[in-house]
Subunit: 340 residues, 2 copies
C-alpha cells in the first residue's frame, strides 16, 4: 500500500540518476565509494543524494561488491600500433563506470603467455579484452577456461564468442567511392600478402565498389605483395610499364601508399593531379609526413575499443551478450593525396 501524501514519496535511485544526469550504475558506484570516476561526477551525485534525501538499501549497495572494477587487456601486439588505441578506447568507455584497464602483453611463447594470463586472473579482473595484432591470428593462450567474461577486438574469436572488428570491406569501399567521386576511372589496388584475411576483405571491397560504379578493376586484379614501402615502389614500376597506367591507386596500408607516392614523384607523375592515392590504417605519423599528406581509411580503433569495453561491462553485469562478429564502420580521412 502506498504511503499517504503526508510523507514525501521516497526517492529512488532512478530519481537520483535523472537529476544528476548520470546512469544508475554511476550513482551506485558513487555511493559505493569503491569505483573510480571523475571527482566532479561523484560530488554531483552525492549532492543530489543529499538533496533528495535518498537512502540506498544495503542490497543495492552490495550489488557491485564482488567486482574489482578492473578489466585486463591481453595483447600480442608488441608494437602497440593497434592495441594502444584500442586500450585508450576501452579506458574511455569504462572510466565513467569506475573501471580501470590493465594491459598485459603476451609473447609468442605459449608457456610464458599462459603464465601472464594466470597472473591477470589472480588479480581478479572482472573481465578481459583480447586484442590481436592480426585479425586472423589466434593468441597463444587457452581462453576456454576463463571464469570471467571476455571479448575479442581486432581478433576473431569465432562463432561462439563476441568479436569487434573494423568493417574492412566497407572501409575499402569508402576509399574507392571517394576516388570515383573525384572522377578517377582506372583504379588499381596494391596491397599486402593474400594470406592476411584483411588483404582479401579490402580487395573485395575495392572490387564491389568498382562494380557498383560500373567500372572494371584496373590491371590484372588486386596486386598482393608485402606491407612495405618497397612493395609500393615495385608495384608502381609494374603498373607504369603498361600502356595505360591507373589514374588512382588504392593501397592496402599506409606504408605501401607511402612507397607508391614516393615512386610516382620520382617518375614525375603528379599526386593528386595525375594520380590519386589513398592508404589504409590512417597511421598519422606516416600519413601526415607523406608529400603530399596521405588520405587514408581510419579503422576507428578507439571507438572499436570503447564499444567493446561497454559490451564487456554489460556481460560483467550479467547480460547475455549474443555471440558473433560485430563490424564497426571505418571512416575516411581525406588529405591532399586524393584531392580532385
Amino acid at each position: 500500500m502506498r504511503q499517504p501524501n503526508s510523507a514525501p514519496q521516497k526517492a529512488t535511485i532512478h530519481d537520483v540518476a535523472a537529476r544528476a544526469g548520470v546512469s544508475i550504475a554511476t550513482v551506485s558506484l558513487a555511493l559505493s565509494g569503491r569505483g573510480r570516476m571523475m571527482a566532479e561526477t561523484r560530488e554531483r551525485v552525492l549532492r543530489v543524494v543529499k538533496e533528495l534525501n535518498f537512502r540506498p538499501n544495503a542490497m543495492a549497495r552490495g550489488l557491485h561488491s564482488k567486482r574489482s572494477f578492473t578489466v585486463g587487456l591481453l595483447t600480442d601486439d608488441v608494437y602497440g600500433r593497434f592495441a594502444l588505441p584500442v586500450m585508450q578506447g576501452v579506458t574511455e568507455g569504462l572510466i565513467d563506470h569506475g573501471v580501470s584497464v590493465f594491459l598485459c602483453a603476451l609473447e609468442d611463447n605459449p608457456v610464458l603467455a599462459q603464465s601472464h594470463l594466470d597472473a591477470l586472473m589472480e588479480k581478479q579482473v572482472d573481465g578481459i579484452v583480447v586484442a590481436g595484432r592480426r585479425v586472423d591470428r589466434i593468441l597463444p593462450v587457452d581462453l576456454g577456461g576463463l571464469t570471467v567474461p571476455f571479448i575479442h577486438v581486432m581478433s576473431d574469436g569465432g562463432p561462439d564468442r563476441v568479436s569487434y572488428l573494423p568493417d574492412e570491406e566497407q572501409g575499402a569501399r569508402l576509399a574507392v567511392a571517394h576516388m570515383v567521386a573525384s572522377g578517377r576511372r582506372r583504379i588499381a589496388h596494391v596491397t599486402g600478402p593474400a594470406r592476411f584475411r584483411v588483404a582479401g576483405e579490402r580487395a573485395q571491397g575495392w572490387r564491389a565498389e568498382l562494380a557498383e560504379a560500373g567500372l572494371a578493376p584496373h590491371g590484372p586484379g588486386a596486386m598482393f605483395g608485402r606491407w612495405s614501402e618497397a612493395w609500393g615502389h615495385e608495384a608502381v614500376a609494374e603498373l607504369w610499364a603498361s600502356d595505360e597506367p591507373p589514374d588512382a591507386v588504392f593501397c592496402g596500408n599506409d606504408q605501401i601508399a607511402r612507397g607508391v607516392i614516393d615512386a610516382l614523384r620520382e617518375r614525375g607523375v603528379r599526386v593528386p593531379a595525375d594520380v590519386a592515392v589513398v592508404g589504409f590504417d590512417n597511421w598519422e605519423i606516416v600519413a601526415e609526413e607523406t608529400r603530399p599528406p596521405l588520405s587514408s581509411v581510419d579503422m576507428n580503433l578507439r571507438e572499436l575499443g570503447r564499444q567493446a569495453g561497454l559490451t564487456l561491462l554489460e556481460a560483467i553485469n550479467g547480460a547475455q551478450v549474443p555471440p558473433g562478429v560485430r563490424r564497426l564502420p571505418c571512416v575516411l580521412r581525406a588529405r591532399a593525396s586524393s584531392a580532385p
Copy 2:
C-alpha cells in the same frame, strides 16, 4: 656443532640452486608454487630438490608470501613507441623471477591519472615502473604517497629517486665517431626543439666528439627545429645553400633523418657516397624502409627496461637502492646510409 659424517650433510637451498643452474630466488619461487616461471625451469628445480632430498623450512617458504608477484608499469606514452619496448624488457627481466607486468596508461587529465594509479595500487602490485614519453616531463600523478618501491625509466625522477635513462650524449658520440672513422670531416647536426632535454644532450655529444677528433662543428652550430621529416627537408635546403655543404649529417631522430635523405636524393646528392646520414632512435619500421636503409643510434630500451626491472626487484626484496640517475649506453646500428 656439525653432524658427523655418518649422516649425509643436509642440502641447502644454495646446493639446489647451484645444481639446477638457477638463482636462489628461482628455487624459492619454484617451491612456493606461487611464482610464475617456465615450466621447464620449475620441473628442473623440483627434480634437483628430490635428488638432493632438500627440505625447505617453513620460514624460507613464507619469505615471499606477502608478495603478489606483479609489478605495474605506469606510462603516459600513448603511442607506445618507447613504453612498449621498455615493458618487454621489464617482462624479460622479471619472468624468471615469477613476476608479471601490467601496463596502465595515464592520460594527461590528473584526476583520471590518479584514479588509474589508485586502481593499480588496489591490485597490490609489489612495485611500479614509471615510464615516460619524454625524459624531462613529469607524469601527472603524485608518486610521493606510494607504499611500494618504484623506479623511473625514460623519465627523470630527480635526485631522490632511481632513474634509468639512455646515455644520450654517449649515443651521439658513437654516431659522430662512426662518421669520423669513415673519413667525414664536415659533420652537421639537425635535431628537434631545443626545449627537449635530449636534444641538448645529443647536440652536446656531437660537439664533444668533434672536439676530440680535432674537428669544428659544421655550419653555425646544432640546428634545432622539429622532430619531423619536413624539418629534415628544410634543413637540407639551408645547408646546401651555403658554399660548403656538409659531408655528413647527424640527425636527432629517425624522422628528421628520413627527411634529410629524401631531400638529398631529390637534389641528386648521393647517400652515402657524397654524404653520410645517421639518425637516432633506431625506429626499425622507418629505418629499414629508408632508401638507403638508415644507420641509427639505438637507445637499447629493452635492456634499459630489463635492468630497471631487476633493480626494482632488489628494492622489493628489501635492498637499499641508492638514488640517482643510471645511464645505460646506446649502441649504433650501422646500415647503408653511413657506409664509407
